[in-house]
Symmetry: C2
Amino acid sequence: MQYMPVTESMFLIGETRDQPMHVGGLQLFIPRDGQTAADLADEISQRFHEATDIAPMFRKRPATPAQVAGYAAWTQDEEIDFDYHIRHIILPRPGEVKDLLRYVSQNHGALLDRRRPMWEAHIIEGLQDGRVALYTKIHHSVVDGVSALRLLQRALSTDPEDRSGTAPWSMDLVRRKRRQSAKENDKSLLGTLTGAAGSIVDVAGQVVGLGPAAAKIATAGVMDKDYVAPLQMAPTTMLNQSIGSARRFAAQDWPIERLQAAARAQKMTVNDLIVAMCAGALRSYLDEHDDLPDESLIAAMPVSLHSEDDADGNAVTVISVRMATDLASPAERVAAIKASTASAKKVVRGLKPLQALALGAALGWPLAFASVPGFVQYTPRGFNLLISNVPGPSEPLYWNGAKLDGCYPVSIPMEGLAMNITVTTVAGKAGFGIIGARAQLPSLQRILTHLENALAEVEALPPA
Amino acid sequence: MQYMPVTESMFLIGETRDQPMHVGGLQLFIPRDGQTAADLADEISQRFHEATDIAPMFRKRPATPAQVAGYAAWTQDEEIDFDYHIRHIILPRPGEVKDLLRYVSQNHGALLDRRRPMWEAHIIEGLQDGRVALYTKIHHSVVDGVSALRLLQRALSTDPEDRSGTAPWSMDLVRRKRRQSAKENDKSLLGTLTGAAGSIVDVAGQVVGLGPAAAKIATAGVMDKDYVAPLQMAPTTMLNQSIGSARRFAAQDWPIERLQAAARAQKMTVNDLIVAMCAGALRSYLDEHDDLPDESLIAAMPVSLHSEDDADGNAVTVISVRMATDLASPAERVAAIKASTASAKKVVRGLKPLQALALGAALGWPLAFASVPGFVQYTPRGFNLLISNVPGPSEPLYWNGAKLDGCYPVSIPMEGLAMNITVTTVAGKAGFGIIGARAQLPSLQRILTHLENALAEVEALPPA
């Protein structure tokens, strides 16, 4: 049995049939020379089934599966039923990308079984362009987006000739990583071994500091007009409805170089540019549905608390960003977003991880009540949607020689937060994954066109 | 808005993530001459997508989707999102029947979205034997097994040349049935139109009679040793555990003529023979797992309350049958089962539908508490598993010329009732569908071999 911190159990307690709390990833691979899509899919399936020495993270499940408070501990399964966890299907003709996105939409709404380790891996063939897709699903109590990307990274290789490709859950990968770390620093192996006990001690140490940190937040809220204080109200929009369990998924990528160039010209970060793209796109989308509010949308952005030596797992807090969707001028919008993210970051930077986590919890306060049916309609909210930007490795990556050609996160809509936008930058591409509640957000795929238009608008601005 | 009787809402209130309350059907079709499996699958998909005039049953959803008491009404959706409800996939190589059963297992554990009409239709290609499968999933609050079979029947034709094949939800089918009924009996059209209001009146009329009926049950319980009275305790076995949401599905069929011959020889009904097959199979299965109890297993068997002129929907109660699994001798077991089912039926026969329903509710009393986590471990139970036998049409059936070659029900495991066996007799075959909680019932497919052995044992008995 292993201690379960509240940052993990909150995703179990907050889960309902209408807001499953798993994150997903969709990756596309190009078969290597001389390999058909069927060959690659069978190779992935075979290697996955052979990876029976499974890392602890993929064997753990809640010790008390029922949906009541008190998920105090994890337990470990010794045997894993691959027939359940590994799924292999072929898309019907014509096998367009939209057929793939439909499959992901249909499967992302289904809850994971709590009586077994909470993950699934879907190997998907049948794309007419000859690529093979891998859709993975893992519970948010087990990993956050940053950890999921680290798992992805360690299952891939920068070497196209590397033929040691295996499953993301293989203990071989953990051992490879440890050997690498041991070379770099003899202490980190010790760090891995004592990690669990160590982090409890850290938590205890940091709780003491919470009072002054809260004071710091309060000060920032009063002093700085760009800072979005916790408990502030965001406008009500179609993004903020009660939702069903069905999902709609849209995805597209942009060259990271293009985003970097546009950001450089405006003296903003890529993160700010992503917010600006989302702001422009949401203005258009809401306007199309006659639902653009007079006040700005407020986005919550998770910020990773990972340090380099971190063990796998969750460590994330949330900042609030005023998206300036009330401003029609792209130039004014960009300026307002830069000011808002800079201010929010200042507050978080001065905090220790647990303190920042507490701030995140404060910003996310309506979520605590979201699983009470109907409650969302009567609750003021701090923000309209979650936007995440999860940076990954920039070099080209390969699985057993098959090139990674796209990588799209599939995140979590919630009660009152019907849309989630997550971006991941991997191997030179920024992959946008937009997941929404199906019935509540019609024509979600239009966002993709609006994102392109919003990027073009920023590119058309004179340099800052 | 439409009145929702407790016989429907109980399936919504009793549903949890670990016991989804939908029933399923798996049908296998042989493409007609000159048609490939892909042709047939595409034809099914096309006809399904064209069937946009949708019968009310497939447009209704709970007016209050959240998981609280008070599902007082149904509401109707005008637009149906076929991209969500109709799914089309191809199984990976080699495309054996076990790959199909795995797909059904994986998908049967997923909850249906309550914010939309609660059904899905999966068109499945890729079987190496060239057949095409149709797996349908519909919430038990909408239909029971008998109604589901009626829906199946009306979507199929006894004429292999009939090319009017359409979706089970098509209004064309409702109209065809009405025209047919009108020919046979002018009154039945009126019956269909006034059905909803009419059934409320019936319910009111029958509630008055409940007191005497309950007395009748009590008398039978005292007078007749073969009658299983409500609240009697069934032994505790591995079938009676707390379950997870993952499922395992096994299916096989036997020629109905073979079952009829064996039943005739023992002067028992086919229903009794099915109980005897299940009893022998469960004896072997539990024995293999060192879990055969000293006392007999008790099966609950739903009995349809449908009359000929009934509207679609639920109307079912439950009788209890002592399965005589404590008797090693097949001859003694057959005799004990005959006595037990005959006695239980006598009680139900004398009751009006709602009274029988109340008896069913009494027999099923632990179900009312089953959704309280952990409760099942401390509750005495009235029975060990549900066995259903749902008779269908006996002639060969075709969908647009493709012959129905197999029909297997996929039912509902519950907290404390980890296994469900449902049998359907259609087109000359008795299709057994065995669904179980995946983690709790290992090697479930062994039951299929045990069923064959149990049938052979009965066949080997001297005629009664």
